[in-house]
């Protein structure tokens, strides 16, 4: 019980509640249920991407191409909708998932088969994917009036008071909660990131596990691509530009160790919610939205510094405890 209270997740929940209380004390309208639903819905893309990124970081990799993947998949979905307005939404979603998976698999293959450092691979594919959007769209925008009502309506349709977009974030979180905790692949992500050499001796294929992490991250980015374009009813080359950093920030704030092997999906989700609240509170409190980039940057820097300190203290405590037990 005490262990749970001391965990990063409990700390984050505390910080988030304190933050909400602080905002609510000045602006009570912020905690109206309808507004909280808005905040959560607005944060949903970040939550979905953070879950995928968390898995990638767990395996000691990093995926900087998620935002570019999102934008490319979103553009393809939008162009598909414009060209064939009759296509059913489930088909569009299937295309988004598959295209996202393929783009993720390209990263995965390069990391797995050619053992190129993930940061180099995804920095490269980031620019390539963005470039491809320009090539296929010719730099043109796909605007709201060109999209079909069903296409843009899907993420906004409400079920039990929550939009589909929010439900999808909850569904993604729940699914990966189970996948990570209860499946061999989920445990393999931790093993590969925690100690790759030990993972090899335990019979795991490190590269292949990392490959699957990239495929999952890509798939979720693809799904978010459709949702993003449909929600904002616009697709162009630069949508979600720089969003990959916010996703990494959510993970780092959520306690996912950048060196791999430590952290929880719950942490990443809470990290995303934390950033989401800040982002939505800024205009309410009257701070210019231009502050947002610096705030997420500062949050990353503070969170990594904090992670390093927390990790170090824990190691010492274990040693001290072991020493005390040895002397007793």
């Amino acid at each position: 019980m005490i262990r749970y209270l001391k965990s990063r997740e409990a700390l984050l929940v505390g910080v988030i509640l304190a933050l909400i209380a602080l905002i609510a004390s000045r602006f009570p309208a912020f905690i109206l249920p309808s507004n909280l639903v808005n905040v959560f819905t607005d944060t949903s893309p970040l939550i979905i991407l953070a879950v995928g990124q968390a898995i990638v970081i767990l395996t000691r990799c990093i995926d900087l191409s998620v935002a570019a993947n999102l934008a490319l998949t979103g553009m393809v979905c939008a162009m598909l909708n414009v060209a064939y307005p009759g296509l059913p939404i489930p088909f569009i979603i299937a295309v988004a998932l598959m295209l996202g998976a393929v783009l993720g698999a390209i990263n995965g293959i390069l990391v797995w088969k050619l053992t190129i450092p993930p940061i180099v691979v995804t920095l490269g594919t980031l620019t390539i994917y963005r470039g491809i959007i320009f090539v296929i769209s010719d730099g043109a925008w796909v605007n709201a009036h060109e999209m079909s009502a069903a296409f843009t309506g899907f993420p906004r349709a409400e079920i039990l008071g929550l939009p589909v977009l929010a439900w999808l974030a909850i569904l993604t979180a729940a699914t990966f909660f189970v996948v990570i905790a209860r499946t061999p692949l989920g445990r393999a992500f931790y093993a590969v990131g925690g100690n790759p050499h030990a993972a090899v001796y335990a019979g795991l294929n490190v590269g292949k596990t990392q490959f699957w992490a990239f495929v999952l991250s890509g798939t979720l980015a693809g799904l978010t691509g459709y949702l993003w374009v449909a929600r904002y009813s616009v697709a162009y080359v630069d949508i979600a530009k720089g969003f990959e950093l916010e996703v990494v920030a959510a993970c780092v704030i959520g306690g996912i160790a950048i060196a791999g092997g430590a952290g929880t999906i719950m942490g990443a989700i809470l990290g995303a919610i934390f950033l989401g609240i800040i982002k939505n509170a800024l205009p309410v409190v009257g701070i210019s939205p231009f502050w947002q980039l610096a705030i997420s940057g500062a949050a990353i820097v503070i969170a990594v510094a904090f992670n390093a300190r927390a990790g170090r203290a824990k190691g010492r405590i274990i040693l001290k405890r072991a020493e005390a037990e040895a002397q007793a």
């Binding site: 190129i116 940061i119 920095l123 080359v237 610096a294 940057g297 510094a305």
Partner: protein, 327 residues
């Protein structure tokens, strides 16, 4: 002593053969091939002034790439360089509002760069944090500060003497930036290949623990490297701001990628431990000539970035694919 049983050759390979097979030679051949192809593809390519213009495509990035090469050889990386440019440029713009003179502006630009580099270096060496995460964080932080200061506005109206750094010519078509680039190339060549400091950089990149036990002040060397990278970003900020004549928060957006690409293309191992300054110099020319050539053929900038992304992955992938084929 049985001097017949053990025959140790004086040299494993003749130096000439080794040089011939090196990455730098291959790269030089590529550069020459691109040069020749370009001069056939576009009638405007072989013109002294056009070629002089082409050097602006890479001089500023290459200045950062020299310091970045040392940093990557030592096993670290700095992804915040483009954001340091933005912040340094913003600081210069802010100083301009206070009627600071040309040399004051230069000092502000370089000083901001050094401060940012020191911040990165302190986070990495002082707190023992991985440089990738720290600099991803400061990448948003530094540019974020620029956004806070500037919003959707910009600074302009730099003094006319200030424009010399980015637009001035030393002699005929030889620009000030090109001379600076060449001078820095020589300085970094000496620093990396001819000093104890340079040997320490290689040693740290190959084996940080071993380097520490052989008496190298690993943390200090790393810190100095971050400082140098920050300083070079400051130098690039002075040149770029002077060349553009204005400051916007989106200045040099995405340059970190091009700088890292330049370094890796130059044969520096992304995992640290090996690489050379001549390689980076040739890589700078290759990238500059390619972007200039594509520009003459009216290829849009974002399509060039596809090419640069492919180049980055390709130069690392090809040797590995080649090695896989042979085994």
């Amino acid at each position: 002593m049985n001097d017949t049983a053990r025959h140790i050759p004086d040299r494993l390979q003749s130096p000439a053969l080794k040089a011939f097979k090196s990455w730098e030679t291959l790269l030089l051949a590529v550069a020459i091939a691109i040069f020749v192809t370009n001069s056939f593809l576009s009638p405007y390519f072989l013109n002294a002034w056009n070629l002089s213009d082409a050097t602006f495509n890479f001089t500023e990035k290459a200045m950062i790439a020299f310091a970045m090469a040392l940093l990557i050889i030592a096993g670290e990386i700095d992804l915040s360089v483009a954001s340091i440019i933005a912040l340094a440029s913003t600081a210069m713009g802010a100083a301009l509002q206070l009627d600071v003179g040309t040399w004051g502006l230069v000092a502000v630009g370089l000083g901001t760069g050094v401060l940012c580099g020191a911040f990165n270096g302190l986070m990495v060496t002082g707190l023992g944090l991985p440089s990738i995460v720290v600099t991803i964080g400061t990448m948003s932080l530094f540019r974020g500060i620029s956004y806070i200061v500037l919003g959707d506005q910009g600074f302009r109206g730099y003094p006319s003497e200030f424009s010399f750094f980015g637009q001035g010519y030393v002699w005929w078509v030889i620009s000030f930036e090109f001379v600076l680039f060449a001078g820095l190339a020589v300085l970094y060549y000496i620093l990396l290949h001819r000093t104890n400091f340079g040997r320490a950089v290689y040693a740290i990149g190959n084996n940080p623990t071993g380097a520490l036990f052989s008496g190298i002040r690993v943390a200090r060397v790393r810190f100095i490297l971050f400082l140098l990278t920050g300083l070079m970003a400051g130098v690039a900020a002075v040149c770029l701001t002077s060349r553009l004549g204005s400051t916007r928060p989106t200045i040099a957006l995405g340059w970190e990628l091009e700088v890292v690409t330049m370094v890796v293309l130059g044969g520096v191992n992304i995992l640290g431990g090996s690489g050379s300054i001549p390689g980076v110099v040739i890589a700078a020319f290759v990238m500059g000539l390619v972007t200039f050539g594509l520009g003459l053929l009216n290829v849009p900038g974002i399509v060039m970035s596809i090419f640069i992304g492919c180049l980055l992955i390709g130069v690392i992938a090809l040797p590995r694919l080649w090695a896989m084929r042979r085994t």
